[in-house]
């Protein structure tokens, strides 16, 4: 199976890129292994407790993608800068108590690994 990696740098709601990534992933999962790497402000996407007034919670969309098999990782440095701390123990497929299930904080080296092993890479950034 071919692999697609999507790199995001924007946080939720400031642009449509997170939603676009979701739609791409939903469709791509039918034929691809999909990795999503959350970099810079995108590490805010999996935060628990989002309650936007008029749109779907982006975090919920992403945790749904993880349930369907997408591998979603967040940069550890960017996450720590925003108060999301990686813990030793993993619960519900996440290693951060402030994150929704299925999404883990990982090293930036995983970005390089994902890119190098992918057949296609899509970068969405303002």
């Amino acid at each position: 199976m071919k692999t697609l990696t999507i790199v995001l740098t924007d946080g939720p709601y400031i642009s449509e890129y997170a939603e676009i990534a979701c739609k791409l992933t939903e469709n791509a999962l039918k034929r691809y292994q999909v990795n999503i790497f959350l970099y810079l402000d995108a590490v805010q996407i999996p935060k628990k407790g989002q309650n936007p007034s008029f749109v779907t919670s982006t975090g919920e969309l992403f945790t749904g993608l993880a349930e369907k098999g997408a591998v979603i990782r967040a940069c550890a440095r960017c996450a720590a800068a925003r108060g999301y701390i990686a813990e030793e123990e993993t619960a519900n497929g996440s290693n951060c108590k402030d994150y929704l299930p299925g999404i883990k904080i990982s090293s930036l080296y995983e970005l390089s690994e994902m890119i190098s092993k992918s057949d296609r890479v899509i970068s969405l950034s303002r």
Binding site: Y39, L40, Y109, S112, I115, S116, V121, S123, S125
Partner: protein, 134 residues
């Protein structure tokens, strides 16, 4: 560019396998310090160096990263041009027309970069396996 891996087969002893190395082009068109993007691009490029053929392309306001003599101490952030200079093995392409447009052509720039015209800049992007924009 190839990634050389030493492997071993019982019958043949050690031998080298050359695997074509993937290439990645990090495109930065945002000035340093105003956002985290330049720092993010530098970090992403640095962690990719051992695994891939990496190019950092500076375009538009991104070219301010190579202005020499930056002093970021009062901002409380690292000097990004020093960081860029320290990655000697990183290929840095600078879009020359962007330098002209901003009056930086002829100014003192850090030395470890290549100035290229529009055609060469886009050719390098096109020839890379993937482009990551910051």
């Amino acid at each position: 560019m190839n990634l050389t891996v030493k492997t071993r087969l019982e019958e043949y002893g050690y031998y080298e396998v050359r695997i074509p190395m993937k290439s990645v082009f990090y495109l930065l068109d945002t000035a340093p310090y105003g956002s985290e993007k330049a720092f993010g691009a530098l970090n992403a490029a640095a962690v990719s160096l051992n695994r891939m053929q990496v190019t950092l392309g500076l375009y538009g306001d991104g070219i301010y990263l190579i202005a020499a003599g930056q002093d970021s101490r009062k901002l409380g952030v690292p000097n990004l041009s020093d960081i860029l200079y320290s990655y000697g093995e990183l290929r840095v392409l600078v879009h020359e027309p962007s330098l002209f447009e901003r009056g930086l052509f002829g100014e003192t720039l850090i030395e470890t970069v290549e100035l290229v015209d529009e055609e060469d800049f886009f050719e390098s992007m096109e020839n890379s396996d993937c482009v990551i924009r910051f």
